[in-house]
C-alpha cells in the first residue's frame, strides 16, 4: 500500500445546532483521483474547504505528507482549491491571474512568463488569451484558466469544488476529459467534489459517497456502482429500480448455493438474488441497464409489464414500464440493435438475471 498524501481524521464541523460534517475519516493516496460525491448539503464542500484550510474543523485533524496542518492557514498548505465560482480575479488579465500564485511561490521558476505560457498550453488554452480579462472569456475558457491558476501554484494536492457545475452539457463532457488528462499529465493528486454521479464515475480512481455529513461508502467506481451498501447509495447512483424484499428460506428452492430466494411484497412475486450479504430483509436494487424486455416469458425474476413510454437516448433506448393494474414502475435501458424494439402500449415481459440484483439494507 502506498502512503497516504492526505489524511483526514475524525473531522467534524458544526454550525449552530447542526453538523455539516460529522466525524468523518478518510485518506487520499498520492497520485490518485478521489471524488467526494453526495447530494447538496451533504457536507462535501465543507470537507473540501477544511482540507484547503479555509475552514477550521470543530474537531478532527488534517495531515498532509504526514504533517499536521489542521491549524495552518490555507496559504501555508501544499494544496490549492479550484472554486465552484472559479473566483478568477476580475480586474486581472489571464496572465496576471496566473502570475499571482507564481509571485507567492517561494520556489517559483525564474522565467515566469515562460512558465505561464507552458501552463496555458497544458490546459489547452491559446496564448492569444493572455491579455484578456475573465469577463472576455467563454465559460470553458474561464474554467481552464481557473485550473491553470491552481496548478501553477504547484500544489501537492489539487482540490476541486464542482468546477464543472456552471457549464453546459456538451462542454462539460469535453472538460471532463481535459480534467482526466490533466490528472494523468500532471501526476498530481486530485480531490474532487461533485453531486454528479456521472462525473464521479467517469473521473475517479476512488469514490467516497457522503450524505448528511457522514461517509456512507468508499470504493472504486465499479464497486460503488455494482455493490452499493445501502438503499441511499444505490438510489443516488441513479437508474435503480428499488423494491423491498424479505428472505424466504422455506418453500421456494434456490437454483444454486449462491442464490437465495426472496419474497418481494410489492411485486407479489419471488425473486432469486445472488448478492444479498446474508440479509434477511432489505431492498432489492436492479439497475435499469440490467433489466431486459422480451416477448417470451422467462423462467425467473420476470413479470409481465406494459410499455408506458420509450425514450431514445441515442445509442440506447430507455423504456418506462408499468405493471398492469398497479402503479409499479420499472425503468429499463437497452442497447440499440441488441434487442427487438417495442412501442408504448405493448405487453411484454421484464426480466433480470440472478447475478444482476443486489439486496441492500435501508
Amino acid at each position: 500500500m502506498t502512503a497516504a498524501l492526505m489524511q483526514a481524521t475524525g473531522l467534524t464541523h458544526s454550525y449552530g445546532n447542526g453538523k455539516a460534517v460529522d466525524d468523518i475519516s478518510f485518506d487520499v493516496t498520492e497520485g490518485q483521483f478521489v471524488t467526494l460525491v453526495g447530494p447538496s448539503g451533504c457536507g462535501k464542500t465543507t470537507t473540501l474547504k477544511i482540507v484547503a484550510g479555509l475552514l477550521t474543523p470543530t474537531e478532527g485533524a488534517i495531515h498532509i505528507n504526514g504533517r499536521d496542518v489542521t491549524r495552518q492557514p490555507a496559504k501555508k498548505r501544499p494544496s490549492s482549491l479550484v472554486f465552484q465560482s472559479l473566483a478568477l480575479f476580475p480586474h486581472m488579465t489571464v496572465e496576471q491571474n496566473l502570475r499571482y500564485p507564481l509571485d507567492n511561490r517561494r520556489d517559483a521558476p525564474d522565467d515566469k512568463a515562460e512558465s505561464i505560457r507552458g501552463m496555458l498550453s497544458l490546459v489547452g488554452l491559446d496564448h492569444s488569451l493572455l491579455h484578456r480579462h475573465p469577463s472576455q472569456l467563454s465559460g470553458g475558457q474561464k474554467q481552464r484558466v481557473a485550473l491553470a491558476r491552481s496548478l501553477i501554484y504547484d500544489p501537492k494536492l489539487l482540490l476541486l469544488d464542482e468546477p464543472l457545475s456552471a457549464i453546459d452539457f456538451q462542454l462539460r463532457r469535453q472538460l471532463r476529459k481535459t480534467l482526466s488528462d490533466l490528472h494523468r499529465k500532471s501526476g498530481k493528486t486530485f480531490l474532487y467534489v461533485t453531486h454528479s454521479l456521472e462525473e464521479a464515475l467517469s473521473l475517479s480512481d476512488e469514490i467516497i459517497v457522503m450524505n448528511a455529513g457522514k461517509i456512507l461508502q468508499r470504493g472504486s467506481p465499479d464497486e460503488i456502482f455494482s455493490s452499493p451498501v445501502s438503499r441511499f447509495v444505490a438510489e443516488f447512483m441513479g437508474d435503480a429500480n428499488v423494491f423491498s424484499v424479505a428472505r424466504r428460506d422455506e418453500g421456494g428452492e434456490a437454483r444454486s448455493d449462491a442464490t437465495r430466494r426472496f419474497w418481494a411484497e410489492e411485486l407479489d412475486m419471488e425473486v432469486d438474488v445472488r448478492r444479498h450479504g446474508d440479509l434477511r430483509d432489505g431492498y432489492l436494487i436492479v439497475r435499469a441497464h440490467e433489466v431486459q424486455v422480451g416477448r417470451d416469458r422467462p423462467r425467473r425474476n420476470a413479470m409481465e409489464v406494459e410499455i408506458f413510454n420509450r425514450y431514445d437516448l441515442g445509442g440506447s433506448i430507455e423504456y418506462s414500464l408499468v405493471r398492469p393494474g398497479s402503479d409499479i414502475r420499472l425503468s429499463c435501458v437497452m442497447e440499440k440493435g441488441q434487442a427487438e424494439e417495442f412501442s408504448p402500449g405493448e405487453r411484454v415481459y421484464a426480466q433480470w438475471p440472478e447475478h444482476a440484483g443486489t439486496v441492500v439494507p435501508e
Binding site: 479555509l54 480586474h91 507567492n104
Partner: protein, 308 residues
C-alpha cells in the same frame, strides 16, 4: 388587452381608460413627461442658482437689473497673492484630509465588511451615521471645547499628572483634524460598500494561492474597491474644499481656506460679485480635478459588484 375584453363586467369607459393608459405609457413622449417634475426641480433649484453665480461672477454690480460684463472680479482674485495662497492651502488641507481618511477608512472598511457579522456591521454603520444627524457646527464646536486650554483634554491630562498641551485651537493644521472628523463617514461608506461587494470566494482564492494580508490588500482588495476609494476621495475632497467650519470654529481662522474667503465675500464684505468669481474658480478647479477621478470610478461597478 385580451384579458380586459374577456372581463364581462368592465364598462366601456374603464376599458378605454386602461387602453389610453397603456398607450400613454408606451409612447415615447410620455417618458419625457414623466421625467419633467425631476427635471424642473433640477433646473429651478440646482442649475438656476449656479447660473446666477456664474452671471454675477462676470458682473460689476449685484443688482439683477444692472448685470454687465467684466473680467474684473476674476482678475482681482487671480492677481491677489493672499487669495491664491488660500486656494493653495485648501488644496493642501483637503489633500491631507483625503489621505488621512483613506488611510483609516480602507483597513476599517475592510474590517467591517469582511470580519464582522451582519448584525455587528449594521451596529457599527449606525454608530458612524448617528453624528451626521447633528449640525456639523455643533460637533466642531464640541471638539474646540475638548481642545481648549482648559478644555476636556487638558483637564484629563492634568488629572493624570501629564503636562497640558496648549495652543491646539490656534494651530492652523489642526483644521485638518476637524475636516477628517467631518468627512470620514463619506469616505468610509463607499469603501465599505465596495469591499462588501468583493465575493468571499475571491478573497479565499487569494489566500489559498499563497497571498499574505499585505499582498491581498494591495493586489486584490484595493483594485477591486477602487470605485469606492475614488468616490470617497472625491466626496471628502470636494466637501472639505469649500467648507469654512473647521478652519473657522476649530482653529479660529488661524488658517484661511477657500471657504473662509467665500464666506467673507458674501457675508462681511457684501461683495457678491467677488464671491461669485471666487466660487466659480473653485468649482472649475474641482471639476478639473474630480472628473477624471470619478470617470475611473465606474460607479456601476460599485453598485452591481464584480467578481462573481
Amino acid at each position: 388587452m385580451n384579458e380586459h375584453t374577456t372581463m364581462p363586467r368592465m364598462t366601456v369607459d374603464e376599458k378605454s381608460l386602461s387602453g389610453w393608459l397603456d398607450e400613454f405609457m408606451s409612447s415615447w413622449r410620455s417618458r419625457y413627461l414623466l421625467v419633467l417634475p425631476v427635471g424642473l426641480l433640477l433646473v429651478v433649484f440646482f442649475f438656476f442658482p449656479l447660473m446666477i453665480i456664474f452671471l454675477y461672477s462676470f458682473s460689476a454690480s449685484d443688482e439683477v437689473s444692472q448685470l454687465s460684463f467684466t473680467l474684473h472680479n476674476y482678475i482681482s482674485v487671480l492677481s491677489s497673492p493672499a487669495k491664491l495662497s488660500m486656494y493653495l492651502h485648501s488644496v493642501v488641507y483637503s489633500s491631507a484630509t483625503v489621505a488621512i481618511c483613506l488611510a483609516i477608512a480602507f483597513p476599517l472598511g475592510n474590517f467591517i465588511a469582511k470580519h464582522l457579522s451582519k448584525l455587528a456591521q449594521a451596529f457599527v454603520i449606525a454608530l458612524l451615521v448617528a453624528p451626521l444627524f447633528m449640525s456639523m457646527l455643533i460637533r466642531i464646536l464640541g471638539w474646540r471645547l475638548f481642545m481648549l486650554k482648559f478644555g476636556v483634554l487638558n483637564e484629563l491630562l492634568s488629572y493624570f499628572g501629564l503636562p497640558r498641551i496648549e495652543g491646539l485651537t490656534y494651530m492652523g493644521p489642526m483644521a485638518i483634524f476637524g475636516m477628517v472628523y467631518l468627512y470620514f463617514p463619506f469616505v468610509l461608506f463607499p469603501i465599505y460598500v465596495a469591499i462588501s461587494n468583493i465575493s468571499d470566494e475571491i478573497l479565499d482564492a487569494a489566500r489559498d494561492l499563497g497571498g499574505n494580508t499585505w499582498t491581498i490588500a494591495r493586489r486584490i482588495t484595493l483594485p477591486l474597491a477602487a470605485p469606492g476609494v475614488a468616490i470617497g476621495s472625491a466626496f471628502a475632497f470636494a466637501l472639505s474644499f469649500g467648507n469654512p467650519v473647521s478652519s473657522e470654529v476649530l482653529v479660529g481662522n488661524n488658517v484661511q481656506l477657500v471657504g473662509n474667503m467665500e464666506k467673507f465675500s458674501f457675508g462681511y464684505a457684501q461683495n457678491w460679485v467677488q464671491g461669485s468669481a471666487e466660487s466659480t474658480i473653485m468649482m472649475i478647479f474641482l471639476l478639473i480635478v474630480l472628473i477624471p477621478v470619478l470617470k475611473r470610478a465606474e460607479i456601476d461597478r460599485l453598485l452591481h459588484g464584480e467578481g462573481n
